[in-house]
């Protein structure tokens, strides 16, 4: 009777690196790694040689020099004496503004259009199809340029508001002016303002935070918390007694009363735009470049989102809506309570990539002269300093961080709404 023995221990031979599957994977990886490192080293050494030949060493010192150009749309105070870094920072905020605005409107529009495309109304469904196909099949750059041209050509110039019998007039009780330079809306002013906190001293990244805004957000947060607490309490009572107390006025009041008090305390009033000199003065000025870019990106992305939403809704089997109808739910309740929550799981992953696309497409802002980070750092700064390598690399790094942040946040959200399988 033989006993089971270990197979004879093979001596390691060089050929086992190729034939033995245990070692082969290591061989492949090492080759891949060496190949990659060689490639990287080759590129870096070429770059160093080339830059040396051009006499342009890699250095970021130029970011500290005055930018010498002005930026019209800015969230922070900035003048042409500020540094290139400051200009890039202002541009970055502009990118974020248009990306956030665009994502919000694109989602709203996309959901509405996606639902309407499934409408029983023949003409509406057809119109929405035309919309989706029209926007999806023409490059977004063309749409941006096109919408900008429409805004410029079709809206009245400020000079049309002048004179005894002006050709154009302001809307909503003389508070909103729609011109081909942009839209002027009343601005929020406080006569007893709390002032600002200045962060980061006098550096290029200095940042003013309005204490009024902070106070507002605190009160709002408190109100939301209280309102949820009221809701939970009502839920509890309903569980126990079967009767739900009427809470809508309480929940409204926790919002209205503290915010109203805060506004009164701060001396809230509106600053209206009025025509002075060449332009409207006062009020908040939303420039045409921002509006055109925002509109074009939203409309374009909404066409894609509409298709995603439609596909998501159609992916829910008919039995779901029939069962909901059998329970006696109304059409809009079926949509809100049964279809959309399930469709959302199908919708979210492609939605994330559309948000990413929108953010990346916002780099086309230069076509309409919106000074986003591509316009400042990758545009005028690069032109004026001739430091292409530094500017382009930094630009890519910024976009990469934005993209990775968005996907991280959205993936986290996706995880949280995912069907918990047991």
């Amino acid at each position: 009777m033989t006993t089971l023995t270990d197979p004879p221990k093979e001596q390691f031979r060089l050929s086992m690196l190729l034939y033995d599957t245990r070692y082969r994977s290591a061989t492949i990886q090492v080759i891949a790694l060496i190949g990659f490192m060689l490639l990287a080293a080759w590129i870096v050494s070429n770059t160093i040689n080339n830059l040396a030949a051009l006499g342009k060493p890699v250095e970021f010192g130029f970011f500290g020099e005055p930018a010498s150009y002005d930026i019209n749309q800015r969230l922070l105070e900035y003048s042409s004496r500020d540094t290139h870094l400051r200009a890039a920072f202002v541009g970055l905020l502009n990118t974020l503004v248009v990306a956030v605005l665009g994502c919000i409107t694109a989602t709203i529009l996309g959901v509405v259009i996606g639902v309407l495309r499934l409408s029983h109304n023949w003409i509406i469904a057809r119109l929405m199809t035309v919309y989706v196909e029209m926007f999806r099949n023409v490059p977004v750059l063309l749409w941006i340029v096109f919408i900008m041209a429409v805004l410029i050509e079709s809206l009245p110039a400020p000079r049309a508001f002048r004179g005894e019998n002006p050709e154009a007039s302001m809307m909503l009780a003389d508070s909103v002016a729609v011109t081909n330079r942009g839209v002027y809306v009343p601005e929020v002013l406080f006569s007893n303002s709390l002032g600002d906190i200045h962060l980061f001293g006098a550096s290029s990244l200095r940042f003013d935070v309005s204490l009024d805004l902070v106070a507002f957000l605190i009160v709002l947060g408190g109100a939301i918390w209280t309102s949820r607490w009221i809701k939970r309490r009502a839920d509890g009572i309903q569980e126990q007694t079967g009767d739900r107390p009427v809470t809508w006025w309480q929940r409204l009041a926790v919002f209205v009363v503290p915010i109203g008090l805060l506004m009164y305390a701060l001396g809230f009033h509106l600053g209206y735009p009025e025509l002075k000199g060449f332009n409207f003065k006062g009020g908040t000025h939303m420039r045409n470049s921002l509006i055109a870019l925002w509109l074009a990106l939203s409309l374009y992305t909404a066409a894609f989102i509409a298709e995603i939403v439609r596909a998501g809704i159609m992916a829910i089997s008919k039995g779901q809506s029939e069962a909901a109808a059998a329970l006696g739910l109304r059409q809009n309740k079926i949509m809100n309570l049964v279809i959309l929550p399930q469709a959302l799981r199908v919708i979210i992953p492609p939605l994330i990539s559309n948000y990413l696309n929108l953010t990346k497409n916002s780099s086309l802002a230069i076509a309409v002269g919106y000074m986003d980070i591509t316009g400042t750092l990758g545009g005028i700064t690069m032109n004026q300093t001739g430091r292409e390598l530094e500017c382009v690399l930094l630009l890519m790094l910024v976009y990469l961080s934005i993209s990775l942040t968005i996907s991280a946040v959205m993936n986290w959200y996706n995880e949280s709404v995912k069907l918990k399988e047991r």
Binding site: L54, G55, F278, N279, S289
Partner: protein
Amino acid sequence: MKKSVILGAATIAGLAAGAAAAGTVDDVKARGKLNCGVTTGLVGFAAPDANGEWQGFDVAVCRAVAAAVLGDANAVEFVPTTGKTRFTALASGEVDMLARNTTWTFSRDVDLKFEFTGVNYYDGQGFMVPKSLGVSSAKELDGATVCIQTGTTTELNLADFFRSNNISYEPVPIETNAEAQQQYLAGACDVYTTDASGLAATRATFENPGDHVLLPEIISKEPLGPLVRHGDHEWGDVVRWTLNALVSAEELGITSANIDEMAAGTDNPEVNRLLGSEGTLGEMLGLDAEWAKRAVKAGGNYGEVFAKNIGEETPIGLARGLNAQWTEGGLLYSPPFR
């Protein structure tokens, strides 16, 4: 150093291998073509016509250089460049020279390592406003919205001007002249500012040019000229003296009509030296004796090129102004051919 990179199926895909760091003259001769960087389109200065032929004032400089070096004014490949790509295109050797209304500034000459080979157009930044605005000086533009063409020195000059006069303005940066014009006409900006030549050219194409005025202030000096890479002096000399030949030809009364006659020999030694019937100027440049003759013949002398592309007879209608010969009160002053 010559290296050919072959990338799979793209082998044949027009690899222009080996732009050498030195000896552009020889490179151009070996290639049989001059690579010339121009704008992607600027009225009167460079634009392709319906047949794909490039036309314009800057283009004529390229053609003159090609004629001088290669003997054929059409042996030019025009490479359209934007404000962003022009300097890298030149530095990397993609183009041999830039003739792309580029302002000669200290930092471009010294820091970016280029060599300006002269000035083919003296310009300055100006302002255009609608007459109905009733503005007569740029200093009255407090609070105005200003359209600027970006990618040039324009936005820097503008920022400096308004800052030093302590008046506020709202800049609207725009990529191309065509779009700036559209915004200006629609009233989306009160003022349009760019080089005065560009303003005049733009105004000339309006439906009612009389409704718009150019303000008297010229807020900057914009000497526009061709440039080459720093360090290749032979090539720099060729471009510089080709331009000078065009200017001198006008001064000496040599035109494309009478050039054959004058090349046979005249009583003026400088004409003879220029056109190669006397002396060895061409040889010193590394070219043959008739280089300047061919350069002038390509599109005429400076005055003819000016008149044909942007002069008063054309729709653009620019007066010579600063760009007249020094003998006529202008700044054009070619060093002697001696």
